[in-house]
C-alpha cells in the first residue's frame, strides 16, 4: 500500500510538471490552438466608446444603477454614481469605471443596457483591462430582461467575467439559475500563468445558443455549460441585458484592506454583441 501510494504520488508530480511545461510551451508555440467550430456571427449591437474625455457613455445605449441598494444582495460597500469621476469616456475610445475611496466609503459605477438593449443567444464580448487589489470586484455580466417579473434567479444570470482583485490573474465565468445560484452556481475559472488581467486588454466572451453557453478568454474556450449540465431549470432562452461594474467589497470578493490601492479603474475598450 505504502509503495503504491508513493508511486502514485511521484507519478502525479511528474504529470503536474509535464502539464506546467506544456503551458509554457503553448505560450511559445503559435500553432497550438483550439479548434472551436466557427459561427458566422453578425454584429447586432456595439459601443466603441468614442467621444470626448470626461463625458458619460451614450445615453441611448447605457443607463446607470445608482446607490448601494442594500449592498446589492452581496453586502457590497460601494455607492454607485453617474458622476464622471466614477464613469466617463477617456477620449481615447474607452469607457473607464473608477472605484474611489473616500475614507471608509467608496464610490464606483455600474452601467447597464436595461430597457435599451437585450438579446437572446449570440456572441457577447468585451475587451477589458481590469482593476486590482483586495476587495475589488469588477464584472461583465448579463441578467434576464424579465427579472422584474420573475425575479432572481429565475430570470437567469450569465457572468461573462468576474475577477477578485486579490487574484488579478484569475477570472471566473458563471451561470446562476433556479436551484443553482450564488454559492451553488455553475462556475469555472481561467488563470493567466505568466501575466495578469490588469497589465493588458483581454477579450472576454460568451457564445450562447439554445443548447449551451461557451465561455472564452481571448478566444480560448475554457468552459462550456450545456443544457444537460445545469442541475435545475435552463433559463437562458429569453433576452438578457448587459451590465459592467466595479464593486468594492462583498461576500464574493471579501473586503478591501488598508493595502488595497485606490483609485482602481476598469477600462472598457469595446462591447460587441453578435447575432
Amino acid at each position: 500500500m505504502k509503495y503504491f501510494s508513493r508511486h502514485t504520488y511521484n507519478g502525479g508530480l511528474a504529470i503536474a510538471l509535464l502539464s506546467a511545461i506544456s503551458i509554457s510551451l503553448s505560450g511559445c508555440d503559435e500553432d497550438d490552438k483550439q479548434s472551436v467550430s466557427k459561427h458566422n456571427w453578425q454584429l447586432a449591437w456595439s459601443d466603441d466608446f468614442d467621444g470626448t474625455a470626461g463625458i458619460l457613455p451614450d445615453a441611448s445605449k447605457w443607463g446607470f444603477d445608482l446607490g448601494n441598494n442594500g449592498g446589492w444582495g452581496n453586502a457590497e460597500l460601494e455607492n454607485y454614481t453617474d458622476d464622471p469621476e466614477n464613469v466617463s469616456l477617456d477620449g481615447d475610445g474607452h469607457l473607464v469605471i473608477t472605484a474611489i475611496q473616500n475614507g471608509n466609503s467608496f464610490t464606483s459605477a455600474r452601467v447597464n443596457t436595461k430597457g435599451k438593449f437585450s438579446q437572446a443567444y449570440g456572441r457577447v464580448e468585451a475587451r477589458l483591462k481590469m482593476p486590482y487589489g483586495p476587495g475589488i470586484w469588477p464584472a461583465f455580466w448579463m441578467l434576464g430582461a424579465n427579472n422584474a417579473e420573475v425575479g432572481w434567479p429565475q430570470c437567469g444570470e450569465i457572468d461573462i467575467m468576474e475577477l477578485k482583485g486579490q487574484a488579478p490573474n484569475v477570472i471566473n465565468g458563471t451561470v446562476h439559475g433556479p436551484g443553482y445560484s450564488a454559492g451553488g452556481a455553475i462556475s469555472s475559472s481561467y488563470a493567466l500563468q505568466n501575466s495578469r488581467f490588469d497589465l493588458d486588454y483581454h477579450v472576454f466572451a460568451v457564445e450562447w445558443t439554445e443548447n449551451q453557453i461557451d465561455f472564452f478568454v481571448d478566444d480560448y474556450l475554457y468552459k462550456r455549460v450545456s443544457k444537460s449540465d445545469v442541475p435545475g431549470e435552463w433559463v437562458y432562452d429569453h433576452p438578457f441585458f448587459l451590465i459592467l461594474n466595479v464593486a468594492v467589497g462583498g461576500n464574493y470578493v471579501g473586503f478591501p484592506t488598508a493595502q488595497t490601492p485606490f483609485p482602481q479603474k476598469m477600462t472598457i475598450d469595446y462591447v460587441k454583441v453578435y447575432q
Binding site: A14, L17, P134, A167, P168
Partner: protein, 623 residues
C-alpha cells in the same frame, strides 16, 4: 525500484526543462549578450555556479551556514542565518551579500524569489539584490519583510530588468535581533524568475511632487525622494528601495540644466528646464522645474582678518557652531528655506518670508569684543513701496539659554534706499545700535523679519571687530624688543637684565591697583583703575647716554594716559600717550630730549597718570 524511479523523474524534469528553455529562446537578439550567463539560480540546494558570499562588517562572520537538515520541500540544503542576541561579542547582526565574480544577464526575469521561514515570527530588516561590493548600481530591496515559522514564498520585483545586463549582486540580506533576541531563519530556492504577475505602479521622484526651484548657473540640485512600488500577485502594493540608476532622468532643456544618471541636476544657463524621469519606460510622478536667472552675482568676499571675525554663515571663514539657519518657528512663521550653492559658494535662500531665526546657542556667542554685525542680502524681486527689513539680536543672558528671565533683544530696521533689489546689500550694523541689548556676551539668535519682502538671499553673516573694540585684556604679548643689550638700560622687560632695586609699586597714596600678570607667557605690568602710579628706581640713574624712552602699552578703556620722567628736585615732565590702543599693543619711543628740563644724569622715578586699565611692558631707555 523506488530510488530508480526518483532518479528517472529528476532526469525527466531536467530534460523537459532544458527543452522548454531552448524551445522558447529562439530569438536571435537573445544571443547578442551570450557571453554573460543567464543562469537564474542563486541558491537552490547549494551555491550556484560562480556564487560567492561575504558577510558585512560588524555582522557575525559565521552567521550564515548551508544547512543540510532544514530545507524547503525537503531538498538537499537551505541557507540558514543565525541572528545574534543583542550585545553578542561576535557581531550585532547577521548579514552579507551573495555575488558572482562575473556578472549575469538577468534581463529575462522580473523578480527575485525565494522561500523562507524562521524560528519565530520576525521582520527582516532588508533583503534584496544588486549589492556587489562595488558600485551597487542596480540595488533593489525590500525593508521590513515579515516572515513566519512556516515556509512561504517571497518576491522582490526587479524595477527594470533591462538594466541587469551584467549583474553581480545576486542576493543580500541584513537582519538584527528581534526585540533584543537572536533567532534563526532559513532561505531556500533563491532564484530569478519571469513571473509576469507583477504590475509596476507609477514610480515617483521628489516624493511625487512637482517642485519649482529658482537657480543660477552653477547651482546643483539632487533629485531625491525616489520610490518604486509594485502590485504583487496578491493585489497588494509592495514598495521597493531603489537606486537612482534605475531611473532615466531627462532635462527638457539641456542648455538650462543637465541631469546625470544619479539625478544630480546642474544649472548651466538661463531659462527654464523641467527635469523628469522614467523607470522602465514608465513616467515617474513628480518633477523639478529649474527657473534659472543665468549667471549668479556672488556676494562680496569678506576681507576682514579671521582673527577679528566671529562667523555665523560664510564660506570665507570657519563658522562657529550654529543650531540652525531656519528654526521654522510655529505657528506664525511662513518662511521656507531653499538654500543653494553656486560654484562652492553657499547661499541662504529664504522664501515665502515673513520672519526667520538663526540660532547659535550651543554655545552662545560672546561678541563683546566685536564692533559690527555684517550681513549681505540680495532681494531678487522688485522692492515694493513700504518694504522694510529688520534685524534683531537676542542675548540669552548669563544662563546662556533661551528664557530664564534674563534675555534681552534689540532690533534695527532698514528701508530704502539702503534696501535695493537685484543687487547685494552689505549691511554693516554697529553693535552699538542694538542699544537695548544688556550684553553681547551671550548672543544666541539673529532674527530677520520683513515686510513686503517675499524672498531674499543671505550670505556672509558674521560679527566683526573693525578695530574700534579693543579686548580688555591683550590677547598677545607685547612685542619683544630687539635692541642690542649694550644699547639698553632696562627697568621692566623679560628681554633684558633690569636695573636692580627698582620699586614697581611705591606707595604714593594712589588708587591704582598694580600687579604683574602673564600675558601669553610674558610678564606684564598691569595698572588697574589708574589714577596715578609711580615707579621708583634704586637711585639717581644716568640715562644721558640713551636717546629714547621705550614703552609698550595697551589699554582698551583708557581715555587719558601720560608718562612722566622725574629727576631729583623733583623735576618732572610729562609726555601724553595715545589711548585707547586701537591696534593692539602700542610701541612708542619718546626722545629723551622731549622730557627737558628733567636732568637725564639723575633720573629717579617714572610716573603714569590718567584713567582706565593699563598694561605696560618693556619700559626701558635705549639708543
Amino acid at each position: 525500484m523506488k530510488p530508480n524511479f526518483k532518479i528517472l523523474a529528476k532526469q525527466l524534469f531536467l530534460w523537459i526543462f532544458v527543452f522548454a528553455v531552448f524551445s522558447c529562446e529562439n530569438d536571435p537578439n537573445d544571443y547578442e549578450s551570450a557571453s554573460y550567463s543567464k543562469n537564474p539560480e542563486v541558491f537552490i540546494d547549494t551555491f550556484s555556479a560562480g556564487l560567492n558570499f561575504s558577510s558585512y562588517g560588524g555582522a557575525v562572520a559565521n552567521a550564515f551556514q548551508v544547512d543540510p537538515d532544514v530545507a524547503y520541500n525537503n531538498s538537499a540544503a537551505s541557507m540558514r542565518f543565525d541572528v545574534p542576541n543583542v550585545n553578542d561579542s561576535s557581531g550585532s547582526y547577521a548579514g552579507g551579500s551573495f555575488y558572482t565574480t562575473v556578472g549575469r544577464n538577468l534581463t529575462g526575469y522580473d523578480a527575485l524569489t525565494f522561500w523562507a521561514k524562521s524560528t519565530v515570527a520576525a521582520t527582516i530588516d532588508v533583503v534584496g539584490f544588486g549589492n556587489d561590493f562595488g558600485d551597487n548600481k542596480y540595488q533593489a530591496s525590500i525593508s521590513g519583510l515579515q516572515i513566519s515559522t512556516v515556509w512561504k514564498k517571497y518576491i522582490i520585483p526587479i524595477p527594470d530588468p533591462s538594466k541587469l545586463t551584467v549583474e553581480k549582486g545576486m542576493f543580500f540580506i541584513s537582519e538584527g535581533p528581534e526585540n533584543g533576541n537572536g533567532y534563526s531563519f532559513w532561505v531556500d530556492e533563491v532564484k530569478f524568475e519571469k513571473l509576469g504577475t507583477i504590475n509596476p505602479q507609477q514610480p515617483k521622484i521628489l516624493n511625487g511632487e512637482d517642485v519649482v526651484q529658482n537657480a543660477y548657473v552653477g547651482v546643483t540640485n539632487t533629485i531625491d525622494g525616489l520610490a518604486c512600488a509594485f502590485n504583487m500577485p496578491n493585489g497588494i502594493n509592495q514598495g521597493v528601495n531603489v537606486t537612482p540608476a534605475y531611473f532615466t532622468f531627462t532635462s527638457s532643456n539641456e542648455a538650462v540644466a543637465t541631469v546625470n544618471e544619479l539625478g544630480i541636476v546642474n544649472t548651466v544657463g538661463a531659462g527654464t528646464a523641467v527635469i523628469s524621469a522614467t523607470v522602465n519606460g514608465v513616467e515617474a510622478l513628480g518633477s523639478l522645474t529649474i527657473n534659472s536667472s543665468g549667471t549668479f552675482v556672488h556676494a562680496p568676499t569678506p576681507t576682514a582678518d579671521p582673527a577679528d571675525v566671529i562667523p555665523i554663515f560664510s564660506d570665507t571663514y570657519t563658522n562657529v557652531p550654529v543650531n540652525y539657519y531656519n528654526g521654522f518657528w510655529e505657528p506664525y512663521q511662513t518662511t521656507q528655506s531653499a538654500d543653494f550653492a553656486v560654484a562652492g559658494d553657499n547661499v541662504l535662500n529664504y522664501t515665502n518670508f515673513n520672519f526667520v531665526g538663526i540660532e547659535f546657542s550651543s554655545p552662545t556667542v560672546d561678541a563683546s569684543g566685536m564692533s559690527h554685525l555684517h550681513v549681505d542680502l540680495y532681494i531678487p524681486n522688485a522692492l515694493p513701496a513700504g518694504a522694510n527689513f529688520k534685524v534683531t539680536l537676542n542675548d540669552f543672558g548669563a544662563d546662556g539659554v533661551f528664557g530664564g528671565g534674563n534675555d534681552t533683544g534689540a532690533t534695527v530696521t532698514f528701508t530704502a534706499p539702503t534696501l535695493v533689489s537685484q543687487g547685494w546689500i552689505s549691511l554693516n550694523i554697529p553693535l552699538a545700535s542694538f542699544g537695548a541689548l544688556a550684553s553681547r556676551a551671550h548672543l544666541g539668535q539673529i532674527v530677520f523679519e520683513g515686510a513686503n519682502i517675499t524672498n531674499f538671499y543671505a550670505d556672509n553673516i558674521y560679527f566683526q571687530n573693525d578695530g574700534s573694540v579693543i579686548p580688555p585684556v591683550p590677547t598677545t604679548a607685547a612685542p619683544t624688543p630687539s635692541y642690542p643689550a649694550a644699547n639698553v638700560t632696562s627697568i621692566f622687560s623679560d628681554a633684558y637684565t633690569n636695573l636692580a632695586g627698582s620699586d614697581l609699586n611705591p606707595n604714593w597714596g594712589q588708587g591704582t591697583v598694580t600687579t604683574q600678570v602673564a600675558i601669553a607667557g610674558n610678564n606684564t605690568l598691569k595698572y588697574a583703575g589708574l589714577n596715578y602710579q609711580g615707579l621708583a628706581l634704586a637711585g639717581g640713574t644716568n640715562v644721558s647716554n640713551r636717546t629714547f624712552l621705550h614703552l609698550d602699552y595697551y589699554s582698551a578703556n583708557s581715555t587719558a594716559l601720560n608718562v612722566y620722567l622725574i629727576s631729583t628736585g623733583p623735576v618732572e615732565k610729562l609726555q601724553p600717550l595715545t589711548v585707547p590702543t586701537t591696534a593692539g599693543w602700542n610701541s612708542v619711543d619718546i626722545p629723551l630730549s622731549s622730557f627737558a628740563p628733567v636732568n637725564l644724569n639723575d633720573v629717579i622715578q617714572l610716573k603714569f597718570d590718567g584713567n582706565g586699565d593699563i598694561y605696560l611692558d618693556n619700559v626701558l631707555f635705549r639708543n
